[in-house]
Amino acid sequence: MDQLAQLVALTLAAGTPLVYAALGELVTEKSGVLNLGVEGMMLVGAVAAFAVAATTQNPWLGVLAGMAAGAALSAVFAVLALTLLSNQVATGLALSLFGIGLSAFVGLEYVAVVIEGIPPVAISGLSDLTLVGTLLFAHNPLVYLSLALFALVQWFLYRTRAGLVLRAVGESPQSAHAIGYPVLAIRYLAVLFGGACAGLAGAYLAVAYTPLWVEGMTAGRGWIALALVVFATWKPWRVLAGAYLFGGVTLAQFQAQALGLDVPSQFLSMLPYLATIAVLAIISRDAATIRLNAPASLGKPFHAAA
């Protein structure tokens, strides 16, 4: 019984960075903007969070710093891609490379530093009383926050007027502009939200999941988050499922490595990525679903005619 609870906890913990990063990117893409800089924004968020946590001894300040750093980097993207109409794909890729390099540079002096991370919540009595208690009440606060974020995004996109406007902008910025919505401002906000979420995903890795700083510690999770959004056909609950699938397989391959299976470890490390993409690709092969949920203007620059 304990093992099951632990399995769930570890799966959620491993999937959480993807939940943050992919939900943020989902909101960005729903507004019609394709920001491929998630990996870079995650790393910058991670190093900023770690540095601030190490300096102030307060991991929560670190989380805020990570979000701010992610948002700041996404603001650079927004200015280039939205205001100056640069190519979104190229700009996003450059942003990732820039973030990878910047985080490695800033993080040099933090490589061997040890900090006090954010511990899992432990409500005495509840958390260790029963299986249910362990399942529900023993995770990291940031895991709960990510679930709250999921609920928030789902509610915002499909239950609020602002969410409807955001989807409309992603569907047809020309029409949204014609009706009188500020397309550029809405897209800026969506990009900043995506940046803050990516930064938060990095911060979670650096101050809660591990907690430590290693160069390139996101290990491609930013890219998998991007793939997740597409294969989840821009649906928040599928993003959530995909993220936990990734977390579960990550866990399984750790177990397999620990058991000393006669499979090259590199192959095992591939598994989470392969499995996530394969499963989501199979789920999302319905063309009609894609057409209904994909933002039609994704990646296309919008310039309001004078």
Binding site: Y158, R159, R161, L164, V165, R167, A168, E171, S172, Q174, S175, A176, H177, A178, I179, G180, Y181, R291, L292, N293, A296, A305, A306
Partner: protein, 530 residues
């Protein structure tokens, strides 16, 4: 001078684009409660002027006065706050959203409240525009989409309503109904700017008309005192050509549709029920009907876009072709002009020459797998010349042409391939009178050459003008084709409303789950069609 100031007064409105002067010192007065027509060919500057009034485009010069006081209409939101509503013709619906969501987006937050679904049903029932608030727009035909636009506007309680060719999708009876609605609105004090190229409608509805040509006002008049010919003269600066046609001399059956039954492939589509029709060499057969009654599905089945299992259900020259795809049927001499000229009839970002290649490559334009680009260019240039297409040349991108010019090009491309059978869907939709007359004449010429022509159109006038026989499509069923001389407009209108369908034979309609606005599903699934 009237006692009250004009609701809207424009003076000296000028808008210059890099290559063209869209508006040149335009003046326009719209009185309260007046139905005012704005007439002009495509490219005359009507759209630009309307966009200026609606705040989408800023004028380079000129003043706008709203109820006597000068205003800057900086945005559509500002226009809506003033009380200006606009029924758009293009680019203003969100395809992946539902009808209710589309309408909610255009309303103020306080107007888009929880009972919106019911209000949409009320307005649409009141004005005879059947609409299901929960349907997704991408499943709707062009005509149905326009209903959404109209309903969206009417829900905004406008004081000036701009309507851009709103009647092209309605049955004659529904046009009467809409006119009654507009007259009621006008009696209540709402001003209406009515853009159209249908001169008869303008004469029946409007009290005043402003005519634009090449960006300038060429006249204002009371259309009730003008004839259609005099209005057309003001509009195009010359006389409208009348179609010339000889007596019918139909030959052998070229295109035969035999009890074609096809279930809808889309939950919101229309199923086709036992459609039978024959088109003979040297005749034009028309199919009338309100859009969304199966035209789209019938066109897909006839063009080969959607092959049918029963190969004998569609026959070309007696040969079963139902199972062939579009290329296979084209190889047998079928040509097709689809309803959507951008995206189906032509690839927007490709040049006219490249667009020629897409369907005309059988005209010895490819040799040994290589494209003979000089033959392609020659075909494109000849088409441009023969059909009077205004374009920068064969290299011009399809999207750079105005709707009418591109349509002339697409029709010309198909006709110049000397087909045995030509199928044209909405050949003059959104095309100005001059270009429309040209296209109709081209179809008639094709008939004189002994080609079998099938035209699907929502414009009854057009069908009466060019067709030898006429059938009506309603709810996926086709009435028997009748000689045009035996058809009355009233009778056709009845048929369009489905009078020939046996009771109890209603097709099933499906509804999407309640939309994101917490709307209840409609109470009755069958009660929407009149």
């Amino acid at each position: 001078m009237s006692a009250s100031p004009p609701r809207l007064a424009l003076r000296g409105i000028t808008k210059v684009y890099p290559s063209v002067v869209a508006n040149d010192g335009v003046a326009l007065d719209v009185l309260p409660g007046e139905i005012h027509a704005v007439l002009g060919e495509n490219g005359a500057g009507k759209s630009t002027l309307m966009k200026i009034i609606y705040g989408v485009v800023k004028p380079d010069a000129g003043t706008i006065r709203w109820e006597g006081s000068p205003v800057q209409i900086a945005s559509p939101a500002r226009a809506r706050r003033l009380g200006i509503g606009m029924v758009f013709q293009h680019f203003s619906l969100f395809e992946t959203l539902t009808v209710a969501e589309n309408i909610a987006l255009a309303l103020d937050a306080r107007r888009a409240g929880g009972d919106l679904g019911q209000r949409i049903r009320d307005v649409s029932a009141h004005y005879g525009l059947p609409l299901d608030p929960d349907r997704h727009v991408h499943t709707m035909s062009v005509g149905e989409r326009q209903r959404v636009e109209i309903a969206r506007c009417l829900l905004q309680d406008p004081r000036l309503l701009i309507m851009d060719e709103p009647t092209s999708v309605l049955t004659p009876q529904a046009v009467e109904k809409l006119f009654a609605t507009l007259r009621t609105l006008a009696d209540e004090g709402c001003s209406i700017l009515y853009i159209s190229h249908k001169l008869d409608e303008i004469r029946a509805l409007c009290q005043k008309a402003t005519v634009l040509r090449a960006g300038r006002v060429t006249g204002t008049c009371d259309p009730r005192e003008e004839s259609a010919a005099s209005l057309a003269r003001m509009m195009i600066g010359g006389d409208l050509p009348h179609p010339r046609r000889s007596a019918p001399k139909a030959g052998a059956e070229r295109l035969v549709v035999d009890r074609l039954t096809l279930p809808a492939d889309d939950p919101f589509g229309t199923s086709l029920h036992a459609i039978s029709l024959a088109v003979r060499a040297g005749e034009i057969v028309g199919i009338a009907g309100v859009s969304g009654n199966g035209q789209k599905e019938l066109m897909a089945a006839l063009s080969g876009e959607r092959p049918v299992a029963d190969a004998g259900a569609v026959r070309l020259d007696g040969r079963p072709v139902g199972s062939l795809d579009a290329a296979g049927r084209r190889a047998l001499g079928l040509a097709f002009v689809p309803e959507e000229r951008l995206g189906r009839g032509a690839v927007p970002d490709m040049s006219l020459a490249e667009n020629v290649l897409l369907t005309a490559h059988r005209q010895s334009m490819v040799r040994g797998g290589f494209v003979r680009s000089e033959a392609v260019r020659a075909f494109a240039e000849q088409t441009i010349a023969a059909f009077g297409v205004k374009a920068a040349g064969a290299h011009a991108a399809a999207r750079s042409l105005s709707g009418g010019n591109l349509q002339k090009f697409v029709v010309g491309r198909e006709i110049r391939q000397r087909p045995r059978v030509l199928i044209a869907a909405q050949p003059t939709w959104g095309v100005d009178v001059g270009a429309a007359a040209h296209i109709r004449q081209a179809l008639i010429d094709l008939r004189e050459d002994g080609v079998a022509v099938l035209v699907v159109s929502e414009e009854l006038d057009e069908l009466f003008e060019i067709c030898d026989r006429l059938a009506v499509i309603a709810q996926g069923r086709l009435s028997e084709a009748k000689d045009i001389a035996e058809c009355g407009a009233d009778e056709i209108g009845q048929l369009m409303a489905g009078s020939f369908i046996a009771p109890g034979a209603h097709p099933h309609r499906h509804f999407s789950p309640a939309g994101a606005l917490g709307l209840d599903p409609p109470p009755e699934a069958e009660a929407r069609e009149p």
